[in-house]
């Protein structure tokens, strides 16, 4: 099913007003118009368990495409919007959505310091890769490290409808930037499935959420260090004949990121802890409070300008107080290995031309912690030791 997320209607009068205003004062605003896009087709094959479609039999059910436009009608004002198409097996419904739609006011713009405000649907700078996670060219691999960049609950973390205040300062020791987002996240059926076990009669709705990221860059990105903290909220509106009551979900991730980008070698590591709380869903759904932990270490080496090899070790624990799921298995009868995952990945990237890129990667995974229930409905059929092989072809303009 294709769902088209509606554009914010209130924008159009504002946009046309800006255009009329600057029609005479800046004759060349049209020259600032840009459009870019990408399309990626992937193939996924797993030895056991399903990821992005019926991957045990080989799945082509993973396609991503995006198209964006941007314009700077005034020196201090710019507009940008991107539409994203995504097909992702049974992880979520096939959809076309507004990925971002931003009105950006630069309040301050000097050589050393910049500050401003972005309004609209703003991407969340969560860790190093979240903002452009769907653009294959910007990712280090076909699949981002799933311990931190879950694909099964991606939309909740992806963007927020609201605003972002940003500030950048270039000091003699490097550049510091701070971004703070306030807005309402997308709470979809995929999130409902992960949180409440399956699609329930009622509906989860995003509530005002907060995110902040402080980033330090040395020598224009030779070294990048970031700390991200967020507090995301959603609440449940019960449906008819629903045994759940109007509960709340609170999600608080803290992510620490470090990256080195040399001429040939890049090293990246991220560590995250997340607290999640499910409260007040009624007598039949006990309160759940869990702390999960994730980290990965990744190295990439540019053998030539066109060929890059990567290796990564990625670890995820759903609950730090029950890392290998022993208690969980006793309590629920479901396998303990579904509460963690350790993933070794090796991959190759080939930049055929500046516009075309191909990739191949292999994962050896122990544990099924980040697989989705929608793709693997029967927990008894899960296998704790599995292999994943994937191919990608991507085009950009």
């Amino acid at each position: 099913m294709i769902t088209l997320v509606r554009h914010k209607k209130a924008w159009f009068p504002a946009v046309s007003l800006v255009f009329c205003y600057c029609h005479n004062s800046c004759a060349d605003w049209k020259d600032t118009f840009q459009y870019h896009g990408f399309i990626s087709q992937n193939f996924v094959l797993t030895s056991e368990n399903n990821f992005y479609g019926d991957s045990e039999n080989g799945s082509f059910d993973f396609t991503e495409a995006g198209f964006n436009v941007s314009l700077r009608p005034l020196n201090r004002l710019s507009l940008a919007a991107q539409v994203l198409y995504r097909r992702a097996g049974e992880l979520e419904d096939e959809e076309v959505r507004l990925d971002y739609g931003v009105l950006d006011f630069t309040a301050l713009g000097t050589t050393e310091a910049r500050a401003g405000l972005r309004l609209g649907r703003v991407k969340n700078p969560l860790g190093l890769y979240n903002e452009t996670r769907d653009v294959a060219f910007t990712r280090p691999s076909i699949f981002l490290p799933q311990s931190i960049y879950f694909d099964r609950t991606r939309n909740f973390a992806l963007s927020a409808d609201g605003g972002q205040v940003y500030g950048e300062y270039e000091s003699s020791i490097g550049e510091f930037s701070l971004r703070v987002n306030v807005g309402v996240p997308t709470a979809d059926k995929a999130l409902e499935d992960v949180l409440l076990g399956r699609n329930r009669p009622g509906e989860l709705r995003g509530k005002t959420s907060y995110l902040g990221q402080l980033l330090y860059e040395y020598e224009s990105g030779l070294v990048r260090l970031a700390v991200t903290a967020a507090s995301a909220h959603a609440s449940y509106e019960p449906g008819k004949n629903d045994f759940l009551s109007d509960g709340d979900f609170l999600f608080q991730p803290y992510i620490f990121s470090a990256q080195y980008n040399g001429e040939r070698l890049s090293l990246t590591a991220e560590y995250a802890v997340r607290n999640s709380d499910l409260k007040r869903f009624g007598p039949l759904f006990p309160n759940i409070s869990a702390q999960s932990e994730s980290y990965y270490i990744q190295g990439a080496y540019r053998l030539t300008d066109e060929i890059e090899a990567m290796v990564r070790y990625d670890v995820y624990y759903v609950n730090v107080h029950d890392r290998y799921g022993g208690e969980f298995e006793q309590r629920t009868g479901r396998p303990g290995f579904s509460r963690f995952a350790k993933d070794w990945t090796v991959g190759l990237r080939w930049d055929i031309t500046p516009n075309w890129m191909a990739r191949a990667e292999y994962h050896r995974v122990h544990g099924t912690g980040w697989l989705a229930g929608t793709e693997n409905p029967d927990p008894r059929e899960l296998d704790p030791d599995w292999d994943l092989f994937a191919l990608e072809l991507s085009f950009r303009f």
Binding site: Q34, S70, T106, E112, E131, T138, G262
Partner: protein, 119 residues
């Protein structure tokens, strides 16, 4: 490094040059919008310019542009396919900045200096 003759600077620090080519600094001191021109990523002149004059790698710059373009937080520079096209575009675009090999610089554009290390 060369600019359109109306650009109000004669020399800039390496840090400012980076901010300009990274598409972070979007206007000159007098408020004129900056228009950045580059050669394709694969061009040896582009690679050398990044490494020698900006002190960064072409792939770092590409990452920075892609992050901006695909997250809605900025724009990419204009790409000129040849040195001649770069010169022609800079000469007719107010606020333009780019780079050219010494031999390709003529009176239609103005050459400016990057102060090494300084701001």
């Amino acid at each position: 490094m060369v600019v359109h003759p109306n650009v109000p600077v004669s020399e800039i620090g390496q840090q400012e040059a980076r901010a300009l080519f990274a598409m972070s600094q979007r206007s000159w001191q007098d408020g004129t919008p900056v228009v950045v021109f580059v050669l394709p990523d694969s061009s040896p002149i582009h690679k050398e310019f990044c490494k020698k004059h900006l002190g960064m790698f072409a792939h770092q710059l590409r990452q920075t542009w892609d992050r901006k373009v695909f997250s809605g937080t900025g724009q990419a520079p204009e790409v000129a396919s040849t040195v001649e096209e770069m010169r022609a575009l800079i000469s007719k675009t107010p606020g333009a900045i780019g780079y050219l090999p010494e031999a390709a610089i003529d009176r239609t554009v103005r050459s400016i200096i990057i102060r090494e290390g300084a701001r």
